[in-house]
């Protein structure tokens, strides 16, 4: 009966989702390793040995501890790497949540970069402008954090409003609001007095929030992972992820949002205000991106480069693969966000310990991310194969019959099996 339980477990949708994500991550890593290998072979300054080292770093960069006296790579617990991984994962988890929550409600939030920028601006300005001599630094932190969320939420609500009222596709509206945000933020800091004029080499940067004594509490994580940038932000992000899971799955609000996302007509029929929910969903998504920015920049020692902002923050866009890889599950996002930042760490290790240059590592990371996004295809393959084994028939034909619906197919839903017949029927 052990077999039965295993196949039951395998048949669960959640199992398949997790499995497909893991498989696609592995495929991504393997292909990344192949790229490392090929680059290693074709570059003059890289040998076969360094190619092999590169591959090891791709898989184990997080646990790299440098080189021993003989010059060989060493691996072990590296508190700096792990702490930094957690720190960099924090904003990724938040933008990942932003994309995932919007997606669950039928919206594609490609506006995370813009919302992230607006959150950055609001939280930095608040954290630097409110004098911590007057207001306790902890309160300033909270105000700045909430300000970041609010700014992101408002920015997210704009495409939401455009979609709800004028039926403008949210993707187009998001892309445009992203660039508006980039320019607004540049302008706002340009005319502000938050430019770092103290440290002469940092003249294109904004003051760190530590100048005003504001920083995210460490919550004991600095003891666990000494010599790293880690702080309590990761715990807050994880907590928000859990809250989002509860919101989406356990509350009437989540039910309404998902109903609108799945079938706007049916939601309207049931008296649910589809317009309100579209705006709300985009505002929540924006708020999450804004919170991500706040958690990153309120860390205290992170610097924001403001000067002539001509590109959008990658953290915002990276929320998309983070969410995809997690199949839009808020809890899954925590792990995929950490995976993405792990790649980042592996990249820096690759750059610092081998002769691979930093641009190659970016290419490799891109390959891994790109392939990881194939998790849906992998899931289809997993499900398809299982069905084929069971029913000995094309995967697509089995769909409609999973529950035994084999009847005359009353109503407008065509039996999926009939679709497979199309080509043949006309042949």
């Amino acid at each position: 009966m052990k077999n039965g339980r295993l196949s039951d477990f395998m048949r669960r949708d959640g199992t398949r989702t997790v499995l497909s994500s893991i498989v696609s991550i592995l495929i991504g890593l393997v292909v990344g390793a192949i790229v490392v290998f090929v680059v290693g072979l074709t570059s003059d300054n890289l040998t076969l040995t360094s190619a092999w080292e590169g591959i090891r770093l791709i898989f184990g960069g997080l646990f790299s501890t440098g080189r021993d006296s003989a010059g060989a790579l060493t691996f072990g617990f590296n508190s700096t790497n792990i702490g930094n991984m957690l720190f960099r994962a924090t904003p990724l988890i938040m933008t990942g949540l932003s994309v995932a929550v919007a997606y669950k409600t039928g919206l594609f939030n490609i506006g995370a970069p813009g919302q992230y920028l607006m959150g950055t601006m609001a939280s930095l300005m608040l954290a630097l402008a409110i004098p911590s001599e007057v207001v306790p630094a902890g309160i300033v932190w909270i105000i700045a954090f909430l300000g970041g969320i609010l700014a992101g939420a408002l920015w997210g609500a704009i495409p939401g409003l455009l979609k709800a009222l004028l039926n403008i596709n949210e993707v187009i509206a998001c892309i445009m609001t992203n660039w508006i945000a980039a320019n607004v933020v540049t302008w706002a800091f340009d005319v502000s007095n938050f430019k770092n004029l103290v440290e002469s080499t940092k003249s294109s940067y904004i003051y760190k929030t530590t100048f005003n004594g504001v920083e995210t509490p460490k919550m004991g994580l600095d003891i666990l992972f000494p010599n790293s940038q880690v702080n309590g932000g990761i715990l807050i992000a994880a907590l928000i992820a859990v809250l989002m899971y509860i919101l989406m799955n356990k509350t009437t609000l989540g039910y309404e949002l998902k109903a609108c996302g799945s079938n706007r007509h049916a939601a309207r029929y049931a008296g649910i205000s589809d317009r309100r929910n579209i705006v709300l969903s985009m505002a929540i998504a924006g708020g999450l991106s804004g919170a991500g920015a706040a958690l990153y920049y309120l860390a205290g020692n992170t610097e924001f480069f403001w000067n002539t902002y001509t590109s959008l923050p990658a953290t915002g866009f990276n929320g998309i693969p983070v969410a995809l890889l997690a199949a839009n599950n808020p809890i899954g996002v925590v792990f995929t966000g950490m995976f993405m930042s792990m790649l980042d760490i592996a990249g820096t290790q690759l750059t610092s310990l081998t002769a691979y240059n930093e641009y190659i590592t970016d290419v490799i990371i891109a390959v891994i991310v790109y392939l990881s996004a194939f998790s849906l295809v992998i899931k289809m393959l997993i499900s398809g194969r299982r069905k084929k084994v069971r029913a000995a028939q094309p995967g697509s034909a089995a769909q409609a019959d999973a529950s035994g619906e084999t009847g005359s197919g009353a109503g407008p839903m065509p039996p999926a099996g009939a679709d497979t017949g199309k080509g043949g029927g006309e042949a």
Binding site: S403, S408, P412, P414
Partner: protein, 515 residues
């Protein structure tokens, strides 16, 4: 040719399993040459599965198929086509932006050096359509022709491929009464020519009218094959459902009470064309009566219901529900006194990717017993769903947690009916509530609607089925081109009379017009 085998197609001991269910359990079906053989069964009885096996879409676990007495292998639809088996699917497989001619020849094009030989194809299609009286405009785009025409295109497709075993999967579900008559005539013509027809249906009238023999399936099993002339509707439906079925609706005379819904001069614009789909319609529905709006599809019934339920904004007119003016009220406000079984169960009725229990609380999830401080009270939702599922006999794979998309059409409809009737509202708007359902389910839904009436609720029924209109309603309004052209007492009017009004040939000047 020595002894011509008696049967052109034999499906012997076909067994087809799907996870958790045996869709076809040792079914044997024999089709004679030149006969119209009906395949009758409820939703989920395995009719479509059996035909899909014959058409090569499914591979059976056991059993064999013979043509003219010889065992054949049908692995995919190409094999089926090669054996002369053609199928008109319930949902047409046409390319909307192609012309009729291109659709017919698609996949079987005559080419010369890679170039299409349309002229030759056209000649053949024209000849076929002339011979069988299947007139279509070959140069029209499929998207611009009626559903009935599209079906002709599908039939011509089969003929073009020289198929002589024709499968019709629920062909009448989408047709008007006139088109149904024409289709029946066409089918008889095919049979006379020696073509053999398998006709899937659960409409007893049609089966009695057109078929030579009937095979009845129930829950995946073959119940038997009978000659149509030796049986009757009652016997067939008993075979199909497995118990004596009440074909006629039993109801006592209505005792109408006060007016629940009062509509005055309602005008609703059309989404499709510039004109108004509903034009100055006035009527009322009283408590304890079933008012039926009859008419051929597309005469404004859909838009009238949209206007009443708030899915569409009326441009003129007043709607009073339980004494309150709701002409401009929100859907939510209206639904306080009104439940609505929508015409399109997939667009409006259900969220297909939600579970059954989530769908059953679609309007009520905000009620105190289903939520507390915004958190869904899952145990109560489950309990409520289980009660409705039990009470209304909604069948599904995994009960309350079944994803609705995977349920059969009939059970999806039952779920909607369960949800709406359980709301216990003074007015029930039911639009084609039994469309595509089998006899057992229709009987059940009809009796439920009568029960609602007897509880003193007002029922507004919109139906395209004249049988349903005649048997269920207490009062009939006929709608033609967006206006109400007549009001009738079902006991005093004949189907023929109604048909004339529905077709626009007759109208009462008194009926419905107003300022």
């Amino acid at each position: 040719m020595a002894a011509q085998p008696e049967y052109i197609i034999e499906m012997l001991h076909i067994t087809k399993e799907f996870p958790g269910i045996i869709a076809n359990d040792d079914i044997t079906l024999r089709l004679r040459k030149g006969e119209i053989h009906a395949l009758l069964g409820e939703n989920g009885a395995g009719k479509s599965t059996l035909m899909s096996v014959l058409f090569g879409l499914y591979k059976p676990e056991a059993g064999e198929i013979r043509k003219n007495g010889e065992v054949v292998r049908i692995d995919d639809p190409n094999d089926a086509t090669a054996l002369g088996i053609g199928m008109v699917h319930q949902h047409f497989k046409l390319i909307d932006v192609f012309t009729v001619l291109d659709n017919i020849i698609l996949g079987a094009e005559t080419t010369k050096m890679g170039f299409l030989q349309r002229r030759e194809a056209r000649r053949k299609v024209e000849e076929l359509s002339e011979r069988y009286g299947l007139h279509v405009d070959l140069d029209a785009k499929v998207e611009s022709i009626t559903v009935g025409m599209q079906q002709r295109v599908e039939i011509l497709k089969m003929l073009y491929r020289d198929n002589d075993i024709l499968i019709f999967d629920e062909p009448t579900a989408v047709l008007t009464p006139q088109e149904i008559d024409e289709l029946m005539e066409t089918m008889r013509g095919f049979a006379r020519e020696g073509k053999s027809i398998l006709f899937i249906s659960h409409k007893l009238n049609e089966i009695m009218a057109v078929s030579d023999r009937v095979t009845v399936l129930r829950k995946g099993r073959c119940i038997g094959t009978v000659d149509t002339k030796d049986t009757n509707k009652q016997a067939l439906s008993n075979m199909m459902v497995g118990r004596p079925v009440q074909l006629e609706v039993v109801k006592s005379p209505a005792r109408p009470g006060e007016t629940v819904l009062d509509v005055h001069g309602l005008t609703v614009p059309s989404k499709v064309h510039k004109k108004d789909a509903v034009h100055g319609v006035s009527f009322n529905v009283r408590a304890g009566e079933i008012l039926c709006i009859a008419g051929i599809d597309g005469n404004g019934q859909t838009e009238l219901v949209y206007g009443l339920t708030g899915l569409e904004k009326p441009t003129h007119g007043r709607i009073e529900l339980c004494g309150q003016d709701i002409s401009h009220a929100s859907i939510k406000k209206r639904s306080q006194e009104m439940s609505h079984i929508p015409e399109d169960r997939h667009k409006h009725g259900l969220i297909l990717d939600f579970t059954l229990e989530q769908n059953l609380v679609l309007q009520r999830f905000k009620e105190r017993r289903f939520q507390h401080l915004g958190f869904i009270n899952q145990p109560n939702v489950r309990q409520y769903a289980e009660r409705l599922i039990e009470q209304y006999d909604v069948r599904s794979g995994q009960g309350p947690v079944t994803v609705v998309r995977s349920m059969s059409g009939g059970n999806q409809q039952k779920a909607i009916v369960a949800r709406e009737l359980d709301l216990e509202k003074p007015l029930i708007v039911a639009v084609q509530p039994t469309r595509g359902l089998d006899v057992g389910a229709i009987e059940y839904i009809h009796s439920q609607l009568v029960a609602e009436r007897d509880k003193g609720h007002a029922v507004l029924l919109v139906s395209l089925e004249l049988d349903e209109v005649m048997s269920l309603s207490d009062r009939i309004l006929v709608m033609y081109e967006g206006e109400i052209v007549g009001e009738f007492d079902p006991k005093k009017v004949t189907v023929e009379e109604l048909g004339l009004y529905m077709a626009g040939a007759k109208r009462d000047s008194a009926g419905g017009e107003s300022a």
